[in-house]
């Protein structure tokens, strides 16, 4: 009887530790770190054409992937949460690569050609290819 109780108590403790561990893991799992992930390298033009020509195929290739791009800055803006958003030119003057940056990149201006990477979240026809978690690549 005493032995059973002991095993039972040990079991309770083990389960409690496992449950705590799981909760801690779930609440602390870090967001993706773009700087450390391997990227697919392209130009802004190539990324735009891939989506414009075949959205489904481009989704399979680029959705959720870290993309490393070179692009010419068309516009620098701030979103409603205060994050820096940069639009990059494509062959179509109405469509941009819209990338939200983690931090405001220093010393950049409209017309500059910059090298950066970020996560591609998809394509909105006639508007933009969307990227976020952007960082400049040295």
């Amino acid at each position: 009887m005493k032995k059973t109780l002991k095993y039972f108590l040990i079991l309770v403790v083990v389960v409690a530790i496992a449950a705590t561990g799981f909760v801690v893991y779930v609440y602390n799992k870090p967001h993706r770190n773009v700087a450390k992930e391997k990227a697919v390298t392209l130009t802004a033009e190539q990324l735009y054409h891939a989506f414009k020509d075949n959205e489904q195929q481009a989704n399979q290739l680029y959705l959720d992937k870290v993309i490393e791009l070179t692009g010419r800055i068309a516009q620098i803006a701030t979103n409603q949460q205060g994050q820096t958003v940069i639009d990059f030119n494509t062959a179509d003057s109405m469509v941009t690569i819209n990338c939200t940056f983690k931090n405001k990149p220093p010393n950049i201006k409209v017309g500059d050609s910059v090298h950066f990477k970020g996560i591609c979240t998809g394509y909105i026809p006639d508007m933009n290819v969307v990227m976020n978690n952007g960082i400049l690549v040295e």
Partner: protein, 175 residues
Amino acid sequence: MYTKLSLLFLFCVLSIAGLQAQKSFVTRNGQISFVATNDDDVSAVNNEVASRITTNGQITFSLLIKSFFFQYAEMQDHFNSDYLQSNTYPRSDFKGNITNIQSVNFSKNGIYPVTVQGNLTLHGITKPITVPGTIEVANNKIIAKARFTLLLSDFNIHADRVAKKVAIQFNCTYQ
């Protein structure tokens, strides 16, 4: 003959003027957020909403499911892979009309209550929705806001363990 030609000319000029009078306001970085009605922890925000409002009352928006940011990365993963299947359905689109557009004066600052009616496509399913909101005109800037609730099962989203309903907050500033 001459009168007919001048009438035609007048008609053309007026039509072009009419087209130009229809102005549109655009944003690529509007905001839509949601929170589960039964659990405040289940919430996310999307700051990459593309939307357009034209002065004749048309309103559209598109957003990418993968652009929703959750505080908890684990939740974001489940949201994308288990509930919204964002690889298969990467985008959500809305196309509709402001039914009382005549009550909005785009050239006069103010907050105008509106009703928006249209079709929302989410998770591969298109449903008509009608939501109340406001359009604020502030010195050439337009701010559209709306709050409404979606029943997830209407869009074939089965997340019963987490949430059955979500409260959506639409908040877009247009240029």
